[in-house]
Amino acid sequence: MFRRRRGYVCQEMVELITDYLEGAMPRAGRRRFEAHIAGCEHCTEYLEQIRTTIQLSGRLKTEDLTPAMREEFSALYERWRLETG
């Protein structure tokens, strides 16, 4: 039987956020989550901050090999070439 369920409270929302973003919530849960977001500016802000956090992590730079590292890996390659004959 379908029954009306109460909405999520903010404290539950902050724990459900990853399941929501990962698409790991059942449809009914998603609807309740989205209904709460639509009516709560604080949880909207929180969701936004989590998205910003993810995005900032994704912007961490990749560093180039230093010349010394290049030398080391070049030596590693030579070692392997000798092994294999």
């Binding site: 409270v9 903010c10 404290q11 539950e12 902050v14 724990e15 956020i17 990853t18 399941d19 990962e22 790991a24 709560c40 500016e41 604080h42 949880c43 802000e45 929180y46 936004e48 901050q49 989590i50 998205r51 910003t52 956090t53 993810i54 995005q55 900032l56 992590s57 994704g58 912007r59 961490l60 730079k61 990749t62 560093e63 180039d64 090999l65 590292m69 290049r70 080391e72 890996f73 070049s74 590693l76 390659y77 070692r79 392997w80 070439r81 092994e83």
Partner: protein, 228 residues
């Protein structure tokens, strides 16, 4: 991510930016897989330069991940070298069932685990406290001390390179297992499936660790960006 650098950041709402970033990322990650595959072919044909290019492409990810398992940067570097030697020796074993990067990082994790493990990796997966301190909610569970808006007064800061240091510092503070999942998912852009594969954890544990890690990172940034 080169698309991002061409966009004047302060003019765009972060929501839009996040969407753009995801699109740019997915495109970039397919492209990266193709490039890895091409380099691997050249390496198999005996091209040392292709090897060095491959090493360079994955060096940062590998060092960061290795460092999460072992007790010093020096040991992490050894693990990375050891991994590449293993890759070279087993180059014919890579069958392309996963991406090259996933295969590479799996080897790295196995080597790192057998080298010695940092203490903070022993924290149980479920044992991590709430995403947000319970003192910030009232008895009904509603926000009492809500998060303050980040964008208006700190958009320039969010855009600035300076935030990279805060993120790096906050990542270092995470318990090992959370850090590993966040590094792989959010820094390196692997899918949840790939992360489970690399770290040999279940989908459910991956999600719990990601949740704890992201929540802690957000809290660390919040204390940097004002608010609480």
């Amino acid at each position: 991510m080169s698309l991002l650098s061409q966009i004047p950041m302060p003019a765009i709402h972060l929501n839009v930016l996040a969407t753009l970033a995801v699109i740019a990322w997915q495109t970039a990650s397919h492209h990266a897989e193709d490039e890895d595959a091409a380099l691997l072919e050249r390496l198999r044909a005996g091209d040392e330069e292709a090897f060095l290019t491959l090493v360079g492409r994955h060096q940062s990810s590998m060092l960061r991940l290795a460092r999460s398992f072992v007790s010093s940067s020096a040991v992490a570097e050894e693990v990375v070298q050891d991994t590449w030697l293993g890759v070279l020796r087993g180059i014919d074993n890579f069958a392309g069932r996963s991406t090259f990067k996933t295969w590479l990082l799996r080897i790295l994790v196995n080597r790192a685990k057998s080298t010695g493990v940092r203490e903070d990796r022993s924290i149980a997966i479920g044992d991590a406290g709430p995403a947000v301190d319970s003192s910030r909610f009232d008895a009904s569970g509603a926000w009492m001390a809500p998060p303050q808006h980040w964008v208006e007064d700190s958009e320039d800061r969010l855009a600035a390179e300076s935030m990279a240091d805060e993120i790096r510092a906050a990542l270092d503070e995470l318990p090992g297992r959370q850090r590993e999942v966040v590094l792989l998912r959010d820094v390196d852009g692997l899918t949840s499936e790939e992360v489970c594969d690399v770290l040999d954890i279940s989908e459910g544990n991956q999600r719990v660790l990601l949740h704890r890690g992201r929540s802690r990172l957000r809290a660390a940034l919040e204390s940097e960006l004002g608010g609480v």
